[in-house]
């Protein structure tokens, strides 16, 4: 599979990302509208939908490149966004899905990745206004990559760091920062940029931390994200197990 950055420019027929947006809260929907309008030609919103049913119908009517969906919508107000992602994984595997949510719990991000992490992003709603984060998520999922809101990753890393005997304590500060970057879905280049490192240094750190954590490095960022996230979320439970 090609790296997401190489595919980042793959766009819809008119050269713009074609989107379907599903959000039941009017204020948030208007916020998304303003944020996307700001991008001008780069995005084209085919339809705004208020619930799961209308979202799936809109996708069938005119398949978009990317779906941005609220996690919680009518009819059940639980996890319709994740259901939509699962349905689309079957019916339209080429469509990227950005699930927007107010939940910081990694549970929902992991649940989103249960059916595969490729082309899936989990973004906190409050970061929709952030043009880099939003557009990056759209580009990544359109290219088959994965994104996890850094705040969700931070919560996990923070909890792990507070826990004594955590395997995270074996990592250097730098390695932990790189791991967090990996868990959000950032590319090596993006991690290098944000940490003011060379791409080479990032790669070195990744190799060493994956070895320390007994994780298999995977060049595909979407799988790498999932592995890192799973590690942060679940694999550190046995505290005394590997001291």
């Amino acid at each position: 599979m090609s790296s997401p950055s190489e595919l980042a420019d793959r766009k819809g027929s008119k050269g713009a990302y074609r989107l379907v947006v599903a959000e039941d809260a009017y204020l948030v929907r208007e916020g998304i509208r303003s944020a996307l309008e700001r991008e001008g030609e780069e995005v084209e919103v085919l339809e705004y939908c208020p619930d799961l049913g209308s979202l799936l119908r809109a996708v069938e009517a005119a398949p978009p490149d990317v779906v941005i969906t609220d996690i919680r919508m009518p009819p059940t107000l639980t996890d319709e966004g994740i259901q939509a992602a699962a349905t689309l994984r079957e019916d339209h595997p080429e469509i990227g899905v950005v699930v927007i949510s107010q939940y910081v719990s990694p549970h929902y991000a992991l649940k989103l990745f249960e059916h595969g992490s490729a082309g899936r992003a989990y973004l906190l709603k409050e970061h929709i206004g952030h043009r880099i984060q939003l557009m990056e998520a759209i580009r990544e999922v359109a290219a088959g990559g994965s994104v996890v809101d850094p705040k969700v990753v931070d919560v996990l890393v923070e909890a792990r760091m507070r826990a004594k005997n955590s395997r995270l304590s074996r990592l250097s500060t730098r390695e932990r920062e790189v791991l967090a970057g990996v868990a959000t879905g950032a590319s090596n280049a993006a991690i290098a940029d944000s940490l003011f490192l060379t791409k080479r240094a990032v790669e070195k750190n990744i190799n060493s931390l994956f070895a320390k954590l007994d994780l298999t490095d995977d060049k595909t960022t979407s799988r790498r994200v999932r592995a890192a996230l799973l590690f942060l979320a679940d694999s550190d439970l046995g505290a005394g197990a590997d001291l």
Partner: protein, 626 residues
């Protein structure tokens, strides 16, 4: 004193009625009326002795005076004992009346012919009275065959003695011991001196008197033979003391009236002894009955200690009453009827199958009734003892039931309370999430858009950046608060997901083994979730820095179970319960009908084990709607 009719539950430390230090219903205590009766009886006995001793008429004044004094004293004391022991019975009054007649009979010892005649008549009346006492005992009225005996007694006087009084110069007493020595006073009732007619009537009198005595003897024997065990207890002393007297009486009639032989001094002595003995039987009978009732009460009390069933109590009642058909019936205040222990209504009318019933309760409030053989009505002490013991035993059971009921009610209300509270918290969390949090999020998006518009590196952009940071803090705080109010994962995804999230974000080492237990009713999920959370927090707070906790959640066919175990410092569980935190946990679990066990020892860590039963209706899919 606090004893209003309405209040059935007086304060614990107040008397519930008038119980004097020496309650007259129990044991000693002498009433003024008793003193008067005793004084009168003593005076009467002294007077009788004086009359007999000074009259010079009686053949054996010492014996006669002794008999009279003993009889008057015994009858007076016996009357008082009966009046106190069985206030409802008038037998005590009959004994007192008999005492008066015996005193009157002492006038026959007077040399004055009028007084002598009155004494003779008094003696006859006392004889008839004694017959009445024996026939009616332990009641006060005659019925059925006893009228035949009483009729013979009255006939003896009317057909035998009365004509004799009118036709003979010498009047003969009925007693057999009070005959005059020779210097009898003139017969004040004499109409015509007709010796032949008198002799004939004397024979008539003798025959009738013998029939009277024998029929009485026959009646007593038959009554004793047919009596129940309970009644025999009462009859035995009376029978034992009256039979010698009645036998002596009948022999006296035959010997004196028919054969004409004056009674020998031995016969008179025996007869005197029997007469002294005779009224003692009435006292002994009552004392025996009371003693037996006391014994029965003690016996029942000893058997009722171990929380017997209603059937057991009823069986005890039958055994103690010696009445295989005895029953306990229970009053239902709402439908105002008695039911048996199976709940079948029982009609209790006075003619209920030759049975009688007696209700027991608290004050005016009926609780139960003892249905017993009609003859046991003559043994009220026993029925009272049995009824009171049954009442106590069943009261205990009822108290226990009430206690269990109130525990159930408490648990139900606790459950409602916990349920209402968690439903309310869940609603608040939803309101926050969909309301203010959503609005803040939308504002946060617009704020970010405004930052874009403001461009970079100018005063406005800096202010907006500060604002955005503050905004994020506010959102975080709000999110944490909402999560603390009710974790949305618990509502959306259930126990396993919510606990897994706790484990993920736990700030200390934590082993976890979480099974997917499916969805449970909300109250159970909430109870288990918060219980685990509290137990984990306890580990963090109290178990020590090096303690490692492990959390387990699993399910067996009947229950969802969880445990929080640590290897920390442990503690000595408080003997009568738990710390406030443990009590909270136990309350939460108890409210959904579960159990919580806490095991700890200093130095050996702490184990918290919980179990919440899952009913068939609690299977996944029956999730309580929000």
């Amino acid at each position: 004193m606090n004893s209003s009719a309405v209040s059935r539950e007086p304060a614990f430390d107040q008397l519930d009625g008038d119980i004097e230090l020496r309650d007259p219903a129990f044991g000693g205590g002498v009433r003024n009326a008793d003193v008067v009766v005793i004084a009168v009886a003593l005076a009467a006995a002294s007077a009788a002795a004086a009359i007999v001793a000074t009259g010079g008429v009686t053949s054996d004044p010492t014996t006669v005076a002794t008999v009279l004094v003993a009889n008057i004293a015994t009858l007076a004391v016996g009357g008082l004992i009966w009046r106190r022991g069985r206030p409802a019975s008038s037998f005590g009054n009959l004994l007192l009346a008999e005492g008066v007649l015996v005193f009157v009979s002492s006038l026959s010892g007077s040399a004055n012919s009028g007084a002598h005649l009155i004494g003779m008549l008094g003696g006859w009346a006392a004889g008839l009275g004694a017959t009445w006492l024996l026939l009616s005992f332990p009641g006060s009225r005659l019925g059925g065959l006893t009228w035949i005996v009483m009729g013979l007694a009255v006939a003896t006087f009317l057909v035998g003695e009365l004509p004799l009084m009118l036709l003979s110069p010498k009047v003969v007493g009925v007693s057999g011991i009070a005959n005059c020595a020779g210097a009898c006073p003139a017969n004040a009732a004499l109409v015509v001196d007709a010796p032949n007619a008198a002799a004939a009537f004397r024979h008539v009198e003798g025959v009738l008197q013998a029939a009277w005595g024998l029929s009485l003897l026959f009646y007593l024997s038959a009554a004793f033979a047919w009596a129940s065990h309970a009644r025999r207890r009462l009859l035995l002393p009376v029978f034992a003391t009256s039979v010698p007297f009645v036998v002596a009486f009948a022999i006296n009639a035959v010997a004196f009236d028919l054969i004409g032989a004056p009674p020998s001094s031995t016969a008179r002595a025996i007869f005197a002894g029997a007469r002294i003995l005779f009224p003692l039987g009435f006292i002994a009978g009552l004392l025996f009955a009371r003693a037996y009732a006391g014994e029965a009460l003690a016996f029942m009390a000893s058997k009722l200690v171990g929380r017997p069933s209603v059937a057991t109590v009823e069986q005890l009642v039958r055994s103690v009453l010696d009445d295989p058909q005895a029953r306990l019936v229970f009053w239902l205040p709402r439908s105002e009827q008695f039911v048996d222990r199976h709940g079948t209504p029982v009609a209790l009318d006075p003619a209920y199958e030759r049975r009688r019933w007696r209700a027991f309760g608290h004050g005016d409030v009926r609780v139960l009734a003892v249905v017993h053989d009609v003859v046991l009505g003559e043994d009220p002490e026993l029925v009272t003892a049995v009824g009171a013991a049954s009442l106590l035993a069943l009261d205990n059971r009822r108290l226990e039931h009430d206690l269990l009921d109130s525990v159930d009610a408490l648990r139900a209300s606790q459950r409602r309370l916990v349920g209402a509270a968690s439903a309310e918290r869940r609603k608040i969390e939803r309101d926050l999430h969909d309301g203010v949090q959503q609005k803040l999020v939308a504002l946060r998006i617009r704020l970010e858009l405004a930052r874009d518009v403001a461009g970079e590196s100018n005063g406005l952009a800096d202010r907006l950046a500060e604002l955005a940071a503050d905004f994020d803090d506010a959102l975080d705080e709000l999110r944490a608060a909402a999560h603390g109010i009710y974790p949305p994962l618990l509502a959306d995804e259930g126990l396993e997901a919510a606990l897994r999230e706790v484990v993920r974000r736990w700030h200390a080492p934590l082993d976890a083994e979480l099974e997917d237990v499916g969805r449970l009713p909300e109250d159970r999920e909430t109870a288990i979730y918060y219980c685990c959370l509290e137990a984990l927090q306890n580990v963090a707070k109290h178990a020590g820095d090096d303690a490692v906790a492990s959390l387990r959640l699993w399910r067996d066919p009947k229950a969802v179970r969880f445990s929080v175990v640590d290897n920390g410092v442990g503690f000595l569980p408080h003997p009568d319960g738990k710390g406030a935190g443990l009590t909270n946990m136990a309350d939460r679990i108890g409210a959904v009908g579960g159990t919580l066990a806490v095991r700890s020892k200093p130095g050996e860590g702490t184990k918290i084990l919980g179990r919440v039963t899952i009913e068939a209706s609690d299977r996944a899919g029956d999730v309580v709607p929000v």
